[in-house]
Symmetry: C2
Amino acid sequence: MVPHLTTALTGPLQTLERTFLDNATAIERWLRGKWQNHTPPFYGSVDLRNSGFKLAPVDMNLFPGGFNNLHQSFMPLCVHAAQAAVERICPNAKHLLLIPENHTRNQFYLMNVARIASILSHAGLEVRIGSLLPEITETTKLALPDGQSLTLEPLVRRGERIGLDGFDPCAILLNNDLSAGVPDILKNLDGQHLIPPLHAGWTTRRKTAHFHAYDEVANDFARLLKIDPWLINPYFARSEGLDFHDRIGEDELATRVDAMLAKIRAKYAEYGVEETPFVVVKADAGTYGMGVMTVRDASEVTGLNRRQRNKMAVVKEGLQVSEVIIQEGVHTLETVGGGVAEPVVYMLDHYVVGGFYRVHGERGRDENLNAPGMHFEPLAFETCCNLPDCCAAPDAPPNRFYAYGVVARLALLAGAVELEQTAPVEVATA
Amino acid sequence: MVPHLTTALTGPLQTLERTFLDNATAIERWLRGKWQNHTPPFYGSVDLRNSGFKLAPVDMNLFPGGFNNLHQSFMPLCVHAAQAAVERICPNAKHLLLIPENHTRNQFYLMNVARIASILSHAGLEVRIGSLLPEITETTKLALPDGQSLTLEPLVRRGERIGLDGFDPCAILLNNDLSAGVPDILKNLDGQHLIPPLHAGWTTRRKTAHFHAYDEVANDFARLLKIDPWLINPYFARSEGLDFHDRIGEDELATRVDAMLAKIRAKYAEYGVEETPFVVVKADAGTYGMGVMTVRDASEVTGLNRRQRNKMAVVKEGLQVSEVIIQEGVHTLETVGGGVAEPVVYMLDHYVVGGFYRVHGERGRDENLNAPGMHFEPLAFETCCNLPDCCAAPDAPPNRFYAYGVVARLALLAGAVELEQTAPVEVATA
């Protein structure tokens, strides 16, 4: 039930985990204080990378799509956390409309939707699923691999409210990241709770805005623990006005990549790390692991062939990429069944509710694992992330997972801050 | 890991559980609404009895003493629920003082105190333990069977605050049920959160006040589900002015016992139940299973011998019993390892966080199991109580446990209502 965890991790990470364990009570109190001032997103997932010398988030998803990968044993935690989220956001809610991605054949994704619906009904909401797909013009039942089924219904707009035929929800939960833009049917709603808000979608969201917020959170947290924030925070920079097809902006991008590699080298020297630095260039509004490139030398971004340029130029829903985040790469030292692995931590409200490993057998320790060929190890967490065992060694699984849960919650907190900072003016002054 | 559950249960309970499952979403929403209007106790435990035709609480403890009996796998649920409780009651709390019962040799109880302290530190509180025992005049370290230790410190009163030497807590959690009265050192505190409030202690608490509140809750819930409230609610009555030593009030008690047995017989006839009705007479302010008597015929309460009278006359801390609750007895159909068993459900805030079975090998299905010779089966719940499996049969373990979790939360809600109804006037108008 427990995946293989690299046990050769020594040095700074052990020190970091020891620091987390020694300060667990203070950390939880600090987080509690933060959640008094910042509303946690309804849900979120965080991709972490653990290099042995560094433990950092590399992506924070506000429309998590892998609840089906959580082991069944995490369900009670999910239900309790969902109850807390509902009580916080819409305590009187009775009906909830769930709007998923426009997939009807991705069975894994449909299982995720079914799992979210199940968690929310256990939390006391009547849940129905409304599809943005134009071809869903009537109630459509999709079979799921586990023998259950999922019913999609066409959305119905009535004045400033959205619902289904015979279903007027108090709350609408988006599990659609709006990469294709905000559909008209979701605009200018009034009197219904839209969760998360529209500006959380990739129409407007930018990874750099998230990591800008994460800088603040990580610095603040590092002051609490008196640690170097770099140990939990990857460097990042932004490049805009790019056109990969027409090779516009390549030189500027190369300059920034070079500057970041130099900064990483300096840190590696400071900590005696002998790895080769790398950066990851990602579409600033991209998701689904699309538009991602690992770069070990600046010359690589000016020497892209046509296939590589095509890959970087377009992401989900055919969106053109003109802005990228240049992110310090964090090696992953973890392997599961011989494949390189990175932990993904799931949260509902401000609670860690589970996690799994993303595993890729064909990729290296310094590559993006969110790519065709990956699989998930749903049983990966031996214990939940909120329960360190202070008597065990710092690298014992419960303690490693506690550290993962802490860093994931820092990224979630950054997500909350980011949503405040990026809220449209009319919302911010409401 | 899973205890034997009697599988011969058919008839009304199956119907009841089917009703719970079919209405799970409505039940959770109903409970969410109730918790908007009533503050859940910080913690509580409920003793249930499951007779096959009836599933009902028989006791609701506001100072639960068996957290050590919960399986380790319930700990993440405990920590999350404790975080929610702290956020609700004292979000800015940093230091918490835990005041336990005056036991220093009861290793099981000390393990319970250690477990509570552990849950609260994981939830982000610095916890220290202050003892009411006069002989604890300096810091005293007690060894625990698991190799860990528990440190008791003498309480220090400073003006209207209580604490320890060098420790001024924001919150005080009582795990002492105040059977011996409210100690002066706890009176007239100001500016600190005292959890639960003093009137939750057995100095003032009465079982009949709890079941009076439970009547309201059960009737309300029964209306929601359109069921006979008797299926989840044992009859009760009260007798006062008793003196078991001097045989004062025996006749009146016998009359009431007789009247209740007649009411139960009528219900048994209505439902075709062929069991022998019985009532349980308990000290109205009693706990620890003391001052409890099973009665199958009214003549039994007038024919008590000296030993039986002595047993009923005095409860914990030597308190004289002058008031009793006469409670409809509920047979238990469950057995674990050949012993008669009753489920005990633990809650923190409004969350079910675990449970276990109280098992007694020498007692009958119609007897009090909270007696010397009992033991606990800490692994008893296969799944948590908040997660019914609608596809499985109603008597499948997850579903039975869901029903237990529902009824336990009804009793917890009654505990909340009871604390409101019994609050001293100065608190009620604060």
